[in-house]
Amino acid sequence: MNDDELITMVREQRTKVPMTVPVEQVISRGRAVRARRQLPGLAAVLAVAAAAVVAVTALLPGHQGRHQPGTNPGIELAAWTVVRHTDGTVDVTIRQLSDPAGLQRKLRADGVPASVIFGDTPNAQPNRCQSYGHPELLQRVITPSTAPGQPRGIAIVMTIHPSALPSNAGVQIITSQARVGVHLVAASQACTGS
């Protein structure tokens, strides 16, 4: 065997390890990356806008800090944001660990069987969920923009792919010592609401 044949043999290996991540997942994650890049530039605008929203909505009866049902779900100047895209993926941005019940409700309404527990807040509740799945499945369901475990105060951005969830599984967002972790749990009435 000469060097050319050797090189050919080595070169042939490059297509023998298939990349299994679907392009849709990459694009979805790219969107989150782009949004995160734009975040610092938008911060000042958001701060002003948030102040205006608070000033206006404080006068509205029944306001709970986010929009009323039926309005555009993509604009929420609150502790967290949930945006459902037409391809079924759901982007979640968490800026503050508050109102876990509201976030849980919103995720479930957007088709994600979810449990949210922010353990350090006065709203902490016992964890009624059982773990489900393994890292490979978790990677298909969740694409983090900021790795789980980031310190509090930094926005956590992730994309959830509900279509990758088995029918008997859900997503849990849970804090531990002011860090946010995301994992898969067995779906149940007590845990994910279904």
Binding site: M1, D3, L6, I7, M9, V10, R11, Q13, R14, T15, K16, V17, P18, M19, T20, V21, V23, Q25, V26, I27, R29, G30, R31, A32, V33, R34, R37, S131, G133, H134, P135, E136, L138, Q139, T143, A147, P148, G149, I174, S176, Q177, R179, G181, V182, H183, L184
Partner: protein, 170 residues
Amino acid sequence: MGTQREDFAEFYRGAKDECLFTVLVSVGDRDTAQELVAEAFARAWASWRTVSKHPAPKAWVVRTALNANISRWRRRRREVSVPDPASVADLPAAGGGADSSVNPRIMAALLRLPARQRQVVALRLFLDLDTDRTAQVLGIAPGTVQAHLGRAVAALRDDLMPERQQESPS
């Protein structure tokens, strides 16, 4: 936007396996390599207007993936003491992902090469970059690229040829 998305999807389909293998040769672990390459492609999509005009977009992806690996390593060093619910709850049952079709002898021989030789082999043989582009990406002289490639091929020959000679009767 639709056309951009199609362009990117086409680029992804055509380049993903080669990029994965190139990064795999550098980091030595498939799951890690796949995660890094997926992240690099996501960043490529986030900056697609720029990356699509890059003279060697596959090299851009590989370089981004390897840079992300360094950042990730640094971040993990800072975070090891804090329990992560995700890692605690979902660690078991990794295992899978063995690539039956890849030749383990060749992979082992590649991983035995010094880091710089591996980088040169990856860029020249797996991404098909020419000598000048490889030199540019690695920040070294074209002559150095050729020298590293020559040494790498010699080392691979020493590692792999005995096996081939036994297989084929002389």
